[in-house]
Assembly symmetry: C2
Homo-oligomer: 477 residues x 2
């Protein structure tokens, strides 16, 4: 290996034109491996996205059995499927026009499934009421979020609409904001304190933002991607109070709400906390909360099912929202059904319950073991520090590069962590994402690693990372 070999030239043109060079290179390498042109490793290990099944984790049997029976109702006569699976599939099919998941549905989702989701939310929040009329199901939470942005961003104002977003934040959201013409107002999370959100930081960002745009919304990602943090109840209260004072619409991306690790950690939804803050606040702060079947232990990203719940919307805005949601085509029925199964999984006593709970628990255990191993390995490596992972699917360790490595990257006009990731991929086949894609404090560098994989895959990944990192640090020290 030589870092002097100029991989940067290889990718530079693509890079400048905004093409995802890392993913493209990963695809090329996969082809090279297939054609026998690679001998140093036999597989690209992809820890680049938050995708359970790609990480080798098996789908939940109950979910797949119900979905298969919905597709092919002949299976309803099959003795090998559990009774509750067949009952559930029958009920769900009866909610579909013509008894088929091949029919269009209402553009914001099947009424009974919206009801089921609202009941889930009520249970989750210890009784805080939720109405199906405020639930809008779309083809993934990302799509629902895009529609909310469309609602909030006025393209015709002389002054751009501003949205406060955390640094770091996941890249595709930032791109989407830009595409919709929003002004991005970054606020920094405090890495040293486990990526906590300080209201002072929000206030500072807002003041700066007001100089150039019209800030209307505050985007929160809790639990955090890429940071793996989770907000305390107190922190959420502070943020809500701030939003109330400054009349900001809260966009609460809570897709990782069921991925919480560690015994002392609990997820509080923005809606629940809001509901307990006294009527002046609880009945006025406008909130949209997002959730998805992509995350959690179901990990069904490819089905595309997500929803937004709207809280306290001004009636005129709510009507406009309704219209925006209804001019778009309906969400995939399968994604809607997956939401139903997520919101109302098997209960103790149901035939599917033992397998279901065993599978869910084993995924949780696997992730916990992985995060333990990651911390262990990182603590042994020079030049890496990592905040503890409390929730979500990612860790975002800080890389303290030697000055020589920084210079080396500068000479190639690339971000050091991007160059690190490119070489890591090239030399070991491990695909992780560079911190520069998410935003980070000036002169700090990170990588983002997906943690929810099978253990052997994680072991393999850590081994590749370790070997590469040691050589890298040695070469540049």
């Amino acid at each position: 290996m030589s870092f002097m070999k100029d991989i940067s030239l290889l990718v530079k043109n693509n890079f400048l034109s905004g093409i995802d060079v890392l993913s493209r290179r990963a695809a090329q390498i996969t082809v090279e491996i297939q054609q026998g042109e690679r001998t140093n490793y036999n597989k690209v290990l992809d820890l680049s996205s938050g995708d359970l099944h790609r990480g080798g984790i098996k789908p939940i049997t109950f979910v797949r059995q119900v979905l298969a029976a919905c597709f092919y109702p002949a299976l309803l006569e099959d003795d090998s499927l559990p009774l509750d699976v067949k009952q559930r599939a029958k009920i769900l099919l009866s909610e579909c026009d013509g008894g088929s998941i091949g029919s269009y549905t209402d553009s914001s989702g099947i009424a009974k499934i919206k009801l089921c989701v609202s009941q889930y939310i009520t249970r989750r929040d210890g009784g805080v009421p939720s109405s199906p009329d405020n639930i809008f199901i779309k083809s993934g939470s990302q799509t629902a979020l895009m529609i909310m942005l469309k609602l909030l961003i006025r393209s015709k104002d002389s002054c751009q609409t501003g949205v406060l977003i955390p640094v770091p934040t996941y890249a595709s959201f930032t791109l989407a904001l830009e595409e919709q013409g929003a002004a991005i107002i970054p606020y920094h999370l405090c890495e040293e304190q486990g990526w906590t959100l300080h209201v002072e930081e929000l206030r500072k960002a807002l003041l700066t933002g007001r100089k150039t745009c019209n800030p209307v919304a505050l985007y929160i990602c809790n639990p955090g991607n890429p940071t793996g943090h989770i907000q305390s109840r107190k922190s959420i209260e502070e943020v809500i109070r701030f939003a109330a004072e400054e009349r900001l619409f809260i966009l609460a991306d809570e897709v990782y709400q069921s991925c919480v690790y560690g015994d002392d950690t609990e997820f509080y939804s923005y809606k629940k906390v809001l509901s307990e803050m006294g009527s002046t606040i609880s009945s006025t702060v406008e909130l949209a909360s997002f959730n998805s079947v992509s995350k959690g232990f179901m990990g069904e990203c490819g089905l595309r099912g997500g929803y937004v719940e709207l809280v306290n919307l001004d009636p005129a805005v709510r009507e406009y929202a309704q219209r925006l949601f209804s001019t778009r085509s309906c969400p995939p029925v399968i994604g809607q059904i997956a939401l139903d199964l997520m919101a109302d999984p098997p209960k103790p006593g149901d035939p599917s319950f033992p397998t279901f709970s065993e599978e869910a628990q084993s995924i949780k255990n696997m992730i916990c073991k992985n995060t333990g191993r990651i911390q262990e390995v990182f603590s042994e490596l020079p030049g890496i520090s990592c905040q503890p992972l409390k929730a979500g699917f990612f860790v975002f360790p800080c890389l303290h590069f030697p000055p020589k490595a920084i210079k080396w990257a500068k000479k190639r006009q690339m971000e050091p962590d991007m160059l690190y990731c490119l070489h890591l991929l090239e030399e070991t086949g491990l695909h992780v994402r560079p911190g520069c894609e998410y935003g980070q404090r000036k002169d700090s560098h990170h990588i983002r690693l997906f943690v929810a994989t099978q253990q052997d895959i994680m072991e393999d990944a850590l081994q590749r990372l370790k070997t590469f990192h040691m050589r890298f640090m040695k070469e540049f020290s």
Copy 2:
């Protein structure tokens, strides 16, 4: 029955606020039936949308078997599934990350499926080359069309971007155009000549449009919704020549390409015709062609799978398109797989072929029989004239209302055909859509009927329509 009973008051407020009163009323009536409050009929018959399965037509077995096996790979060991089904599911799963349809894919679709689609297009067009790089799969053709509009419509120009659209055209498209800030430039199809498209009409519309906006694109729906017409090769050539002269981008909505009836009717794609018009034209006219698994005899609307093929795009525009498509989340994997099955169905000799071709043929026969019956019934009814149905899923008969009926509607500040549809629904439970939603020549009135239903459903619908229509004409004559 009395038409003097003021149903208009019942729905007026909703109507003015843009809510879909017909659909809402249909839903209410369904509840009334369930609660035993209706005795005149026992079911709402829904011919309001282009949805095969809602119309009682069974899904294609091959499609559902492959999809079920993809969901629940234990079925790959099941002896009751045909060999080609299992082989196909295995191949498709091997194209998914982690071997699961629950993984995210590339945002424009799985590479092998895009290849399969491009091969289908090449076969369809008798060898005209198609490249997977120009195929973008999305969550339905509607979503792909929205992204193309986003690409073409500049919201920041002082002059609005104009799009030429046919009158009549399906309502959700018009709404979407408005939402995206486009100026709508209507061109009329000639009903008397079977809804043909005259270039003179396009030219007239363009001239008018140029006075108030900047026309950039021409939307074509061929075969037509709601008109049931199909363009001849010559007509397509004329349109392409016009687009070339006027430098218009062609948006060819060809989702009904496989729904063609009558022996003397053939579908020509815009791409094929374009390719044969000499290099000055064939290499310059920019074209986007749309297709979907929702239509055709698969009728899998709820899966959400559609694609656009881009032809002759300016490289800079193409790159922007690529970016727009890639900032959105991936299409549902199941919808993508359905596209693969549509593009490459069972062939003679495959175990699934006999059942598959029998099912497909029987759906075609059913539609042909239905359209025959519709013409028969309409020809007997006073005050209805209907152009022959050549293709697609709808007929759009013209209703010649007596002056008294027009006056009655005017008094209620409603469109006569809307009031007709509301009463038809109220009195008989038959749900069809009024022509005013699609656009029609001043003082002409229509209804749109979905034709691709089971025969007994169609018979029932025609009976309801007939009874109602006779009474209506009598009351107002």
